[in-house]
């Protein structure tokens, strides 16, 4: 597909799919709790309602930062996800888009966090400091895993080069070498923290600090924050499925040539990844404390990612 067309259609597609994913996540979560749960289209209803509500900026907030940051967060994560999807669609290899996507997704949470702490609410400040520590905890292993992938494949920092490398290998990257398997494991372990769900929803814990930095956001601002979260969750799952486990290649040539089928396979796979890394942990686990989460991330995923980068540098 032509790159320009791909980039034009991907933002609405990303928005649609990521909200649908959120709806599916909520439905499965409810079913696992013996509940009927909201309809799959519920996130759309939520957004429509939130956009039609009054805008309130607290007196204590520094208004400009408070107002702009949700927009930046939503825009940035939408941009990151669109770049990811359009590059997969068009097949064009832009060097460095892997790092760019990761950077944009991290930036969207930073923007939200700054906006929330500008609200002047003490819970917002606590949420800010918690999110800060959490990001230090999970972003480092996650980035090391990505760098290890860049080392280990062709080597390249372009998403499409990695996909082509997997096709030429005939195997998903995670199954090709031990170092890549470790990198994939690290990435998947960091997913719940990046998506900020239980057990790592510490910065937004409802019963402790009342959504942390989201506490003062309401109406359209909250809608933008929700979009930022849903889109970046989707982008992370899509990234994991494209870079580590590009499954369509296992079904042979004719699937790979048909863009629609391979893309929908990829989406189904990212849905599965979302189920495993987001829905299941948030259903079956309790929330950890910030110290415990920090310890967890600097023990297991960090060791995994560092050993993965060492192994990949020696060619294993």
């Amino acid at each position: 597909m032509d790159a320009a067309i791909a980039f034009l259609i991907s933002p609405p597609a990303v928005l649609l799919i990521s909200l649908l994913f959120e709806g599916i996540d909520r439905k499965i979560h409810a079913r696992m709790q013996k509940r009927i749960g909201p309809p799959v289209t519920q996130p759309f209803y939520d957004l429509i309602k939130l956009f039609s509500k009054e805008r309130i900026v607290p007196i204590t907030a520094s208004a400009r930062v408070f107002e702009t940051m949700p927009m930046i967060a939503a825009a940035v994560s939408l941009l990151g996800a669109s770049i990811l999807l359009s590059n997969i669609l068009s097949g064009s290899s832009v060097i460095g888009d892997l790092i760019l996507v990761m950077y944009l997704l991290a930036m969207s949470s930073v923007a939200l966090m700054i906006g929330g702490s500008a609200s002047g609410n003490p819970y917002g400040v606590v949420g800010f400091s918690r999110k800060m520590s959490m990001m230090i905890a999970y972003e480092i292993p996650m980035f090391i895993a990505i760098i290890s992938v860049a080392f280990g494949s062709s080597p390249s920092l372009a998403i499409n080069n990695i996909i082509r490398f997997q096709i030429s290998l005939g195997l998903p990257l995670a199954a090709s070498r031990p170092s890549m398997a470790l990198a994939a494991a690290t990435f998947l372990l960091c997913m719940p923290a990046a998506a900020s769900v239980v057990p790592f929803d510490i910065p937004e814990a409802k019963t402790e600090i009342i959504y942390g930095f989201l506490i003062e956001y309401g109406g359209p601002y909250l809608a933008l924050a929700k979009i930022a979260k849903a889109v970046s969750n989707f982008a992370l799952t899509l990234l994991a499925s494209a870079v580590f486990l590009y499954v369509p290649l296992l079904l042979g040539e004719n699937v790979l040539l048909n863009l629609g089928i391979s893309l929908s396979l990829c989406l189904i796979e990212s849905l599965l990844i979302m189920f495993v890394t987001i829905t299941v942990p948030r259903t079956v686990l309790a929330r950890l404390k910030i110290g415990q989460a920090f310890k967890f991330y600097w023990m297991l995923p960090l060791i995994l990612s560092i050993s993965s980068i060492i192994l990949s540098s020696v060619g294993l």
Partner: protein
């Protein structure tokens, strides 16, 4: 409107209504299937559920929470205490019932009302306000 988000405020209730509101979200009744969510911050809410006869200390808080909820909003008085102040009426410490302080859109009476009644009350209040 298909996603009424609910903020629950206890203004001196006996817990009976509060646990029935929470019970309305548990598997047997599951209010979330109508898109309802129990939120923790009034900024996120559309529906304010008030339980209790509004004690003197909670009066300023009730007004503040009401003002913090962005428009358009619905106020539902849950339980006989909130609707009419019933057993506590005449106490010097009680400023209620709720409609003496803020405009109320729906009353759910009962001591405490059953979760089904609470669900129906919320849905009807939202439907009539947003039609």
């Amino acid at each position: 409107m298909k996603s009424p988000w609910i903020f629950h405020l206890n203004t001196g209730s006996c817990n009976g209504c509060d646990i029935e509101i929470v019970a309305a979200f548990t598997p047997r009744y599951d209010l979330e299937r109508f898109g309802c969510l129990l939120v923790g911050s009034p900024r996120h809410a559309d529906v304010l559920l008030v339980t209790g006869p509004v004690t003197r200390q909670m009066l300023p808080r009730l007004i503040r929470v009401y003002e913090q909820i962005p428009e358009p909003k619905v106020v539902v008085a849950v339980g006989t205490c909130a609707s009419s102040g019933s057993p506590f009426l005449g106490s010097e410490m009680v400023e209620g019932p709720v409609d003496r302080i803020i405009p109320v859109d729906a009353y759910i009476v009962g001591c405490p009302p059953r979760p089904e009644a609470i669900a129906r009350g919320i849905i009807m209040a939202v439907m009539s306000k947003f039609r």
